[in-house]
């Protein structure tokens, strides 16, 4: 009995099961449109979790709301126990969250090296540039190129590579496979598994659940701005019909 009491009063942060990110009743608006309508989910440290759903379901808006770059948001976003829903995006980034946008956000006025080194280090222990080149050898050969002269796949590698340096432990990746050739998608998939092995926590937005199934531990299905269903990786094969129905594929 005494043992149990002692265990129950342990600080939450000390338990590995405590979520790294906990989203509760998150609402977000673009102008008059109410996009997120009570979004709720969580991610534990070291997990790869996907948000699946149709176009316009609110997946991208969820990432942007966590990052603090939507017009208006309410509700709660706890990162490592700290409330971030009212912080400016630069403060959120400094806590250790990094964002890779769907359009990749490579800067045309910067060369590849400048793009890669642009995001400041927010925590110690970021990946070294050498390790990033090992993951994405193409980047090393194109360091002096203008950022937007890269191929779509190389731009995606640059967009992921540059946030690995920062020491952020939670990566928000918005459709990293969109519009890429199958061989590049495989390379991105291998990279995500490697990042997971290195202890990164990843929230992935995907339309391609076949790809998502190869990398993620859990999947949330998003519809009309909220989570409507939840699958473990092991349940994917037995729930294919249900998923196809949700995603309209």
């Amino acid at each position: 009995m005494a043992d149990n009491l002692a265990r129950d009063t342990r600080p939450v942060a000390a338990t590995t099961a405590a979520p790294m990110l906990e989203v509760k009743d998150l609402n977000a608006w673009y102008g008059e449109s109410h996009i997120l309508q009570g979004m709720a989910f969580d991610i534990r440290p070291g997990e790869v979790v996907t948000l699946l759903g149709r176009n316009g379901a609110g997946k991208t808006t969820t990432l942007k709301s966590i990052m603090g770059i939507v017009g208006k948001r309410t509700g709660s976003v706890l990162f490592e126990g700290a409330e971030t829903a009212s912080l400016a995006s630069n403060r959120i980034a400094r806590l250790g969250i990094a964002f890779c946008p769907e359009e990749r956000g490579i800067f045309a006025n910067l060369d590849v090296r400048e793009n890669l080194l642009l995001p400041p280090q927010v925590r110690p222990g970021g990946m070294s540039v050498e390790t990033i080149f090992e993951l994405f050898p193409n980047l090393k050969e194109r360091l002096a190129s203008q950022g937007t002269k890269l191929s779509g796949g190389e731009q995606q590698m640059l967009a992921i590579g540059r946030i690995l340096r920062t020491g952020a432990r939670l990566l928000l990746l918005d459709e990293p496979t969109e519009g890429l050739a199958p061989v590049i998608i495989q390379q991105i998939g291998a990279t995500l598994r490697r990042l997971k092995a290195e202890g990164f926590t990843i929230l992935l937005v995907e339309q391609n659940f076949r790809f998502a199934a190869t990398v993620a531990d859990r999947h949330y299905v998003v519809e009309r701005g909220k989570v409507v269903d939840h699958f473990q990786a092991s349940e994917i094969e037995t729930s294919v019909d249900k998923l196809r129905n949700y995603l309209g594929v």
């Binding site: 630069n90 946008p101 045309a108 080194l117 642009l118 995001p119 400041p120």
Partner: protein
């Protein structure tokens, strides 16, 4: 050859020098405008008034505080830059998401207010500001007489322009600035305090104008209208060079000063309009300016 053209070498080189001097001010002012427009999306119409304030701070510091020319080169840009940052924090920041025209109207109004206050206080006639003793006199180059102060202005302006170019195009700080010009939301989401960067950038652009004002004080008289006389030409320079291009504003500034000077030699009647003729031609052939990129 000079006899053939009916022009004395003294007149030619004299006007070339005046052209380079004017070009120095065009370059420094249009550089500040380009940096501000790039990041803030604001056409800073009060740039001329802030240049005038720079000259007045130097004049005031000398008359009332006994602070000479050299300290003023540092003090005036800091004082006027700080004033600019207050303007940015209190007024300009509300306009970033609106059309350019709002920023232009606000800064135009500010220019009128600032100039009105100074005219009310100091009258419209110029106040004298002496050349610093270390730079008085000049060199006889054989074909022309080069006043030391004018040589210094050209060298100083070129140095400041190149240093600004280097910081923006070749340093980490400049990379943040260029990236934020393109996509401020993403740069902020990487952890950069973009609103603070915008304030400092405006302060820097304004400080450049004030520095130009101090350099100008011993050449032109210190007058409340010195900025409005200059700023229209500077805007033409910015349009010719291309909005938002750093190197473009520097090269265009010096080049158009020289073009203006040469016109004074060969066809004086056109000397005050030649820049606007060039502007019209450039707009017809390359609407984004000589160095501008289409947005």
């Amino acid at each position: 050859m000079f006899e053939l053209l009916g022009i004395s070498p003294q007149a030619l080189f004299g006007q070339l020098l005046i052209g380079l001097i004017n070009g120095s001010f065009y370059a420094m002012l249009s550089l500040g405008l380009a940096v501000i427009f790039g990041l803030l999306n604001i056409i800073n119409f009060c740039h001329g008034a802030l240049y005038m304030m720079g000259a007045f701070v130097a004049w005031f510091a000398l008359k009332h505080l006994g602070l000479g020319y050299w300290p003023s080169l540092i003090v005036a840009p800091i004082v006027v830059g700080a004033f600019g940052m207050v303007l940015e924090r209190s007024m300009l920041r509300h306009l970033y998401k609106l059309d350019h025209i709002y920023g232009l109207l606000l800064t135009f109004g500010l220019a009128l207010v600032i100039e009105g206050v100074f005219r009310n206080e100091f009258g419209a006639s110029g106040l004298p500001y002496g050349i610093p003793p270390t730079l008085s006199g000049g060199q006889n180059l054989g074909f022309m007489f080069l006043p030391n102060y004018r040589a210094w202005v050209i060298v100083a302006s070129l140095g400041v322009c190149l240093a600004t170019w280097y910081v923006i195009e070749r340093t980490k700080l400049g990379a943040y600035l260029r990236a934020a010009t393109e996509n401020p939301t993403l740069v902020q989401a990487f952890g950069i305090n973009v609103p603070r960067m915008i304030t400092l950038t405006y302060g820097l652009g304004v400080a450049l104008a004030a520095l130009a004002g101090v350099l100008a004080a011993p050449i032109y008289q210190v007058s409340p209208l010195m900025g409005s006389n200059l700023i229209i030409v500077v805007f033409a320079v910015v349009v010719i060079g291309g909005m938002g291009s750093i190197l473009g504003s520097i090269i265009t500034g010096f080049a158009l000063g020289v073009v203006e000077g040469l016109t004074k030699v060969f066809y004086p009647e056109a000397s005050s309009t030649v820049i606007f003729i060039v502007m019209a031609i450039v707009l017809l052939i390359r609407p984004t300016g000589l160095f501008g990129r289409a947005h």
